[in-house]
Symmetry: C2
Subunit: 614 residues, 2 copies
């Protein structure tokens, strides 16, 4: 965290008044796993930005600046993480505290201890939610928000210069009042004035950008607002922004080079240079090596297949696993794990594996003296042991996490544990993921289809139904479609997917076959696209970069809310204006809709009516 | 209209085949008053783009290129105005026509005559609407659409350079899922997953841009998507784009200079230079001189007050008018009117005045020999006549249109007639409004409030409730609010409003007084803004330019649909994908809404159910 010079001066210039109590040393850990521990080593227990309903009733100590004060009843305390409302005690016994809090000038630095309570009744937002969002216009004054939003504007402007001025792209706006797409269950609806007819807010301009290629705009881009209704999801927003790009007469390499150039050109100069080209990895390789399709390649701990070491093992469960088709033994080596991981860490890792993957994980240590909970170690023969050490490149203080089972499941589990162990090691002060390092990676050759989750005998698109098959696999479409690889590509940065795209199907017949025969979709909903493809579509492809996520990584912010001026809460609320809000029935009439009140919401409905009548 | 060189070559290179019938000479006038007569002097009766349901049953002749042909049953004919579907006759008697139409290569030039029919049943869009919109991806290939959208992209990019790179503005995205604003009857609703709660799609980022000023972003801009549900309105779109700007510590002159510089910097070089500064006119002056708040200053025909000429008149109705408060006699001089306007033109002008303004208009000619329908001319004394001629600067062939009555009404009427006469004269070949001329004008000093239309004893905002009062009139707010002028300004180009903005109220108390006391609004809906103003709001102001309208004027397009990639029809439909569309009831459930079917829509509802069941 960086303090601007004026802030340090303010600290010196004002009288800093500690209030209430002496500092507490018991730390309340942040609920967000990836956040650094901003409260370690110092007096406070929490930052002003992190208090949530889960903290109700807890004793906390906060430090910060007095943002403002209202009628000597409450004040708002600010640090660089957010704002919190402090209730000024009014009883006689706390008169000295009250005097300090009421008399200290605004911007004074104070330390405050007290119990977290829910917001007093009678206020507009009855739930205890982040005050930062409610007083967003004040939060925007913080150095952090000013820096993030200014950087976002500059970086997008540089992207525009690269696309428009250097490479002849055309910025074209596409509609957001559109038609529901097949399978678009997450699309917001907008009632129209025609009974029973609705627009839908699209999840991306996918259809429009393809239609633009057919319409002869061969280099399109847009900083596009997209909408996705996913209900309550942390760190997702119901509306988000993507850098949306489509080109004609291009192949996968062309798109990748364009994006690499785009990011290099627009990258903030103080974040270090972007080295080109980005490395590339197939989906199969990413899964086998990192257990995920979005590997964080800033650090090692790769998954190693050690099946061959144990071909002749006497250890029963390894024998069992290897005797099955796709059966494997795999492991990761946690550097310094024997030194840094406590018994309870290892226990929680084993529990996680059982709870989430129904899978055993064995810790193996080189030093047998600390061979907790690893009864199988004794059964490993010396020859296997040496080969094992060679393959895993184990050092004395390392710990190996070993599992056995079906390839994909074993990889996924170890991929999760790899990240879990990285978190644990970093909490102990080991730097694994340099925050100044930006590690880009292309992941390619995804499968075109996946078995449907609810009916594995049917197929669904791994990405979307307009993705072109890999040229080498096109013949398999008609015989073994589940084996077809796609021309989809993902761009990964530090373990987060920041973009994805594909070369598209530009042949109407092939598109019809994929939609109707393979995916069993209602083609009527896409008849305009199929017809358009029939009228001379150039080969084309594109990509979309998630701007919010990208800016979050560039600025090193813990949440995408820190790079959006007016974000919604994780339940999709605007806490400042309290949207969404009730609407009087007469406003629904022009749209021919009425509310279907659930049976248990009678009181809510009545309160709405009362409100309307008053 | 401009034909690119390749198109002329194509015309020469291909065999042009006339089909069906010989050319007709009877012109069907375009329903759009301002459109040039593209079909005058030539064989065709209409352009391909202009056929509407009002043409059903008419015999028309079209000329154009064969865009494509489907199964020898229909072909689509294209000219630079649009596309039309031609049904190829299948009966024996028309065999030779069929042969020509089926064998001519695509891009052949043909002339086609026939009767306009509704689209055949069984097609997705049963109403006869513009085929251009249905096959938008083909229309986008036209030179015109390519030029318009590429120019739009370039011009917006130049604006961004000016704002971001030259003047330090920050591009900040604001939400489009927001809360209904007071009086926002035209806002689309978006149901949320909470029963009875709705987001609303805002008509502008007005509140957000003010909150950004309070949040310390002192120079904001955004190319903002806005939404307005106005039902069926020609040449309006339910979603539209504005260049949205807000600044802190600025006055009206500052904003005006910024916009003048912005337009000069971004103006296409082949459209001539933009001269600065733009002229400025008060609202009162615009009304008195041009009868409108958006004067087209490319031509004269100004409204002249000739009340003083007739102070002692013997003409009864002028005496009557002048004896009333606000009573006036006003006139415009139509140059060459006596030469170009026919008796039926004058009659239609007089009828218009009676029908729309309940007002008499008298034509006055200098040559008494053609003094049609102007019985009062004889009553005008020689002295009055000379003063009248001097004031109106009448030439021999001119005609004066004279009216008497209340100031504002007389001005509004003459303002309309001024434009009507310009249309009539231009139809006769007189060039009044040079299409190469761009005449900008600021209109300032609007009233802050207007009497409510349905209850003239109450006030409503002339623009919006955040507009600051004129500094000279601020004391009148508490005594005669109806007399207060505002700090609102409009930017007018060639008689169209292309932008508007204001200096805002930045004082919470004053804003509360305006909302609660003067406008009687429910301030609870705006409590967040009032509270924000209370926490230190800088003085600020801004403006929004209507990008669609501006591009329409820059490109000389007849409709904003020509500068939008995927526009909606005038009924708000996307004719390509047929949005808005029916949604199965199960998709409404998560939003706790159901359709209230009007009593007369039983058949529609049933067909929907059938569709869902099939």
């Amino acid at each position: 965290m960086y303090f601007p010079s004026w802030m340090r001066q303010l600290y010196r210039g004002l009288s800093a008044q500690p209030a209430w109590a002496s500092p507490r040393r018991s730390l309340v850990l942040s609920p967000h796993r990836r956040l650094p521990e901003f409260s370690s080593f110092i007096a406070r227990t929490n930052t002003c930005g992190e208090l949530r309903s889960s903290h109700l009733g807890q004793e906390v100590t906060l430090c910060g600046w007095i943002q403002y004060r209202r009628q000597n009843i409450f004040l708002v305390l600010r640090d660089f993480h957010g704002l919190v409302q402090i209730v000024i005690p009014q009883d006689e016994s706390a008169a000295s505290v009250k005097k300090i809090l009421c008399e200290a000038p605004v911007e004074s630095v104070v330390q405050v201890s007290g119990t977290v309570v829910a917001r007093p009744p009678g206020q507009e937002n009855p739930k205890t939610e982040a005050l930062r969002l409610q007083y967003r216009y004040l939060d925007l004054r913080s150095f952090q928000m000013q820096r993030n939003l200014r950087l976002r504007s500059q970086m997008v402007m540089r992207m525009r210069e690269y696309l428009c001025n250097l490479h002849g792209f055309i910025d074209i706006e596409t509609p957001t009042l559109f038609k529901k797409t097949p399978g678009g269950a997450k699309e917001f609806l907008v009632p129209s004035r025609e009974p029973g007819k609705f627009y839908s807010l699209p999840q991306s301009p996918q259809q429009f950008k393809q239609l633009l290629m057919i319409g002869g705009f061969d280099r399109y881009f847009q900083v596009a607002r997209c909408y996705r209704d996913e209900g309550s999801r942390p760190d997702r927003q119901p509306e988000f922004t993507q850098i949306d790009i489509e080109m004609s007469f291009v192949d996968q390499t062309g798109i990748q080079q364009l994006i690499e150039g785009l990011l290099q050109y627009s990258w903030p100069s103080d974040r270090g240079a972007v080295a080109l080209p980005f490395p590339s990895m197939t989906f199969a390789e990413a899964l086998a090596t990192y257990g995920t399709d979005k590997p964080d390649t800033r650090f090692g701990m790769k998954i190693i297949d050690i099946s061959n070491v144990f071909r002749n093992t006497e250890i029963g469960f390894l024998q069992d696993a290897l005797s099955k088709p796709q059966g494997t033994v795999k492991a990761i080596c946690v550097p310094g794990g024997a030194k840094y991981l406590k018994r309870k860490d290892i226990e929680s890792i084993r529990k996680f594996a059982v709870d989430h993957f129904n899978q055993e994980v064995l810790p193996v240590f080189l030093k047998t003296s600390i061979n907790w909970n690893s009864p199988v170690a004794e059964l490993i023969m010396e020859e296997q042991r040496l080969e094992f050490i060679r393959l895993m490149q184990v050092q004395e203080d390392d710990v190996i996490l070993l599992t056995a089972g079906e390839h994909q499941k074993a990889c996924s589990l170890l991929g999760k544990l790899r990240l879990e162990c990285a978190d644990l090691l970093e909490k102990k002060g080991v730097v694994l993921r340099d925050p100044a390092l930006f590690s880009f990676l292309w992941v390619v050759d995804f499968p075109l289809f996946l078995p449907k989750e609810d009916n594995p005998r049917e197929l669904e698109s791994a990405h979307h139904p307009f993705t072109a098959p890999h040229p080498s696999d096109i013949h398999l479409l008609y015989t073994e479609p589940e084996k077809v690889r796609s021309q989809h590509y993902d761009l990964v940065l530090n373990g987060s997917e920041i973009g994805g795209g594909s070369i598209r199907i530009h042949n109407a017949e092939l598109q019809h076959y994929v939609l109707a025969t393979l995916l069993k979709e209602d083609v009527k909903l896409l008849s305009h696209l199929l017809q358009a493809l029939d009228y001379g579509a150039p080969p084309h492809g594109g990509i979309a970069l998630g701007l919010d996520r990208l800016m979050c990584l560039v600025t090193g912010s813990p949440s995408i809310r820190d790079v959006i001026a007016f974000p919604k809460s994780f339940r999709g609320h605007d806490l400042m204006s309290s949207a969404p809000d009730c609407v009087p029935p007469e406003d629904l009439k022009p749209y021919h809709i009425q509310v279907s009140w659930p049976a248990d919401s009678e009181s809510e409905k009545n309160s709405l009516n009362l409100h309307q009548e008053s």
